[in-house]
């Protein structure tokens, strides 16, 4: 209902947000980052992605001038590749959703914790990032494996007779990704929470809101910039994650990156590998843009004005 209002042209924004000066400064400010990304990522990447327009030729990495869309049609007409793409998006979406929920809870717990405990809790939260992925996976195997802590506990309690299959499943991939990406969600939300006027949640309480309602309907919307920051980072990383799905996933938990890896370093089919990268990039960018746009649409009216 409010969408028509929300996408009003910028010229209609209220007087106090209209800036006349510094517009040229903003161009100057984003320039170095644009140059870095263009020079270090876009140009080198374009160089490789152009190969996707060549016929598949394992072992050949030079661009030829015979362009074709064969690789793209091969992808798009294959139910198999589309299923892998679907699975990739599904796992990334699940990871991001769980990460958002639990990240918000953790961030609020840290926010409300006494100052002197904060440092310790923050280290607890970022510690998964400090352990090499291979050892981390081994840790998960100890916890989730057939003879792992969870299964042996449940079996000794008589809850189950056969070990549950926890490791090497899609669920394990999501758990593994959640584990390392949680810090990337918690810290941005936390920094956003720290800017909230403590009176605001109290005001909600006085209006009869429960703690849960206060948290979800008052506090979190105010931390929206942190949330969107975390969501875009976690979603992007999940889409492009390779090692965790490879090590923790089951026989059929492969994601697009698994195939990309194969094409680039195993079969040396860079043409098709580049096609997969182009498709992954396009899908991820569109989905991230949707997230950013949706966020902007929902908060445009109150965000900048605090």
């Amino acid at each position: 209902m409010s969408s028509v209002l929300a996408i009003k042209p910028l010229s209609n924004t209220p007087a106090s947000t209209r800036r006349v000066r510094h517009v040229d400064k903003s161009t100057f400010l984003v320039l170095p980052a644009c140059i870095v990304i263009a020079a270090a990522l876009l140009i080198p990447l374009a160089n490789v992605l152009l190969l996707s327009l060549n016929r598949s030729q394992p072992g050949v990495i030079e661009l030829s001038s015979n362009f074709t869309l064969a690789n793209y049609t091969r992808f798009l007409w294959s139910p198999f590749y589309m299923r892998v793409l679907g699975k990739t998006v599904y796992i990334a979406a699940m990871t991001t959703t769980l990460c958002t929920v639990f990240g918000a809870i953790l961030a609020m717990a840290i926010w409300r914790a006494p100052q002197h405990l904060r440092g310790v809790i923050v280290i607890v939260v970022i510690s998964p990032l400090l352990v090499s992925i291979v050892t981390r996976t081994f840790g998960w195997m100890i916890v989730l494996g057939d003879n792992g802590l969870i299964n042996s506990t449940l079996m000794s309690l008589g809850v189950i007779n056969e070990p549950l299959r926890l490791m090497f499943t899609d669920g394990a991939v999501i758990v593994g990704l959640l584990h390392v990406f949680l810090p990337l969600m918690v810290l941005p939300i936390l920094t956003a929470l720290d800017r909230i006027d403590p009176n605001v949640p109290q005001a909600a309480n006085t209006l009869g809101a429960s703690r849960f309602t206060t948290a979800t309907e008052v506090v979190l919307p105010l931390a929206a910039p942190g949330l969107v920051s975390g969501i875009t980072i976690v979603f992007s990383l999940s889409m492009s994650s390779y090692i965790t799905p490879a090590l923790m996933g089951g026989p059929d938990s492969g994601m697009i990156t698994t195939l990309i890896y194969q094409q680039f370093v195993v079969t040396f089919n860079w043409q098709f590998g580049a096609t997969l990268v182009a498709i992954l990039l396009a899908v991820s960018l569109v989905l991230v843009a949707v997230i950013l746009f949706e966020f902007a649409r929902r908060t445009r009216k109150w965000m900048v004005r605090q």
């Binding site: 990495i61 026989p251 194969q262 195993v266």
Partner: protein
């Protein structure tokens, strides 16, 4: 007037020259010299690197004064790097495993190696020279077999065929496509079912039948150690002796066998980059590494079989590596061109 023009051009040219020289110095790390004092070689990590250093690099450096800079990482990266930097190689000497060694051969990355340059080649079993089109030379080989948990399996496996034993339901681990052993597994599966390198079709039907038995496709040696060590998997369907004996030596109830049909071979070989500026040093080094004594010491250290027919390894090593006669070799040159398709079919029919 004319002179001024000339001198300014000169100045600019000499400035550019100096800048170029500075760039080269940064680029190559050290200025190239007629008598190479060092070269870059690849090496696997862990125990392999330790033994390699101890028995080959250190004695070689001591003897010749040539420094060997080692690059670790993944063999597929070394190969990619060499293809990309073909004109001006970053890696002088490639030590490569299957199938990257054959890919390098087919890509023509390596320069021809001759007995004249490397006299010790004459002592090397011909298969480790010929399959690289004489542009590469084998250093050592290990065997692929089956590792299993003695304490957990109902009946111990004896042949490749036993991987399909229904008693191992959900307890077998085999390599992920692209991992060491995966192509060998495909060839074994094809051969067991009337196929060959030229007819890989039967492999897929066989692997589809294997699927119920598969717990997990392993992605690395650590995976094997973790899966077998923890008992998550009982049987590892295609592994070299290295991770298997790693577990056995650690006291795990693991056994390793070479199946009755024969062991698949895992060989590593040297390839000198065609445009290497340090080819002389590399040749000296290869000759040193292929010498009988060096081979014996090194192979006893990493527990591998020597390629030098005169080298005799100790008892422990002999028990753990397959004999030359018991090896099942196959034509990698026929498999490599099919790899992209094979991987695609594997993904669609076996893995996903």
């Amino acid at each position: 007037m004319g002179n001024e023009q000339f001198s300014s051009t000169m100045n600019r040219r000499s400035f550019l020259g100096a800048a170029g020289a500075a760039g080269l110095t940064i680029g190559f790390g050290a200025p190239a010299q007629a008598q190479s004092k060092e070269f870059v070689s690849t090496v696997f990590g862990g125990v392999y690197e330790r033994e390699y250093r101890k028995h080959i690099i250190d004695p070689f450096e001591k003897e010749t004064g040539i420094k060997v800079l080692t690059k670790t990482g993944l063999s597929s990266e070394w190969l990619t790097n060499s293809i990309v930097n073909r004109r001006s190689p970053e890696i002088d000497l490639l030590l490569l495993p299957y199938p990257d060694s054959i890919k390098a051969t087919m890509e023509g990355l390596g320069m021809p190696l001759t007995v004249a340059d490397i006299p010790n080649i004459s002592q090397i079993a011909p298969e480790w020279y010929d399959q690289y089109d004489k542009a590469g030379i084998g250093l050592d080989y290990v065997g692929y077999g089956i590792a299993y948990r003695e304490d957990l399996v109902p009946t111990p496996p004896k042949s490749w065929q036993d991987l399909w034993n229904p008693a191992y339901k959900g307890k077998v681990t085999v390599p992920e496509i692209g991992q060491w052993g995966s192509w060998e597994l495909l060839v074994v599966a094809a051969r067991l079912n009337g196929g060959s390198e030229d007819n890989m079709e039967p492999a897929f039907a066989a692997l589809k039948r294997l699927k119920p038995n598969i717990k997990q496709f392993f992605k690395s040696g650590v995976d094997i150690a973790n899966l077998l060590g923890s008992g998550e998997a009982w049987v590892c369907g295609m592994t070299t002796n290295i991770p298997a004996y790693g577990l056995i030596d650690a006291g795990k109830p693991v056994k390793f066998i070479y199946p009755s049909e024969g062991a698949m071979a895992g060989a590593v070989s040297y390839h000198i980059a065609k445009n290497s500026k340090n080819a002389d040093a590399c040749k000296k080094f290869i000759n040193f590494a292929l010498g009988k004594d060096v081979q014996e010491n090194f192979c006893n250290g990493v527990v591998a079989a020597p390629t030098n027919i005169n080298a005799v390894v100790n008892e422990r090593t002999r028990q753990r590596v397959p004999s030359r006669e018991h090896l099942q070799l196959f034509s990698w040159a026929k498999i490599i061109p099919q790899m992209s398709e094979l991987a695609d079919r594997w993904n669609q029919e076996v893995a996903f």
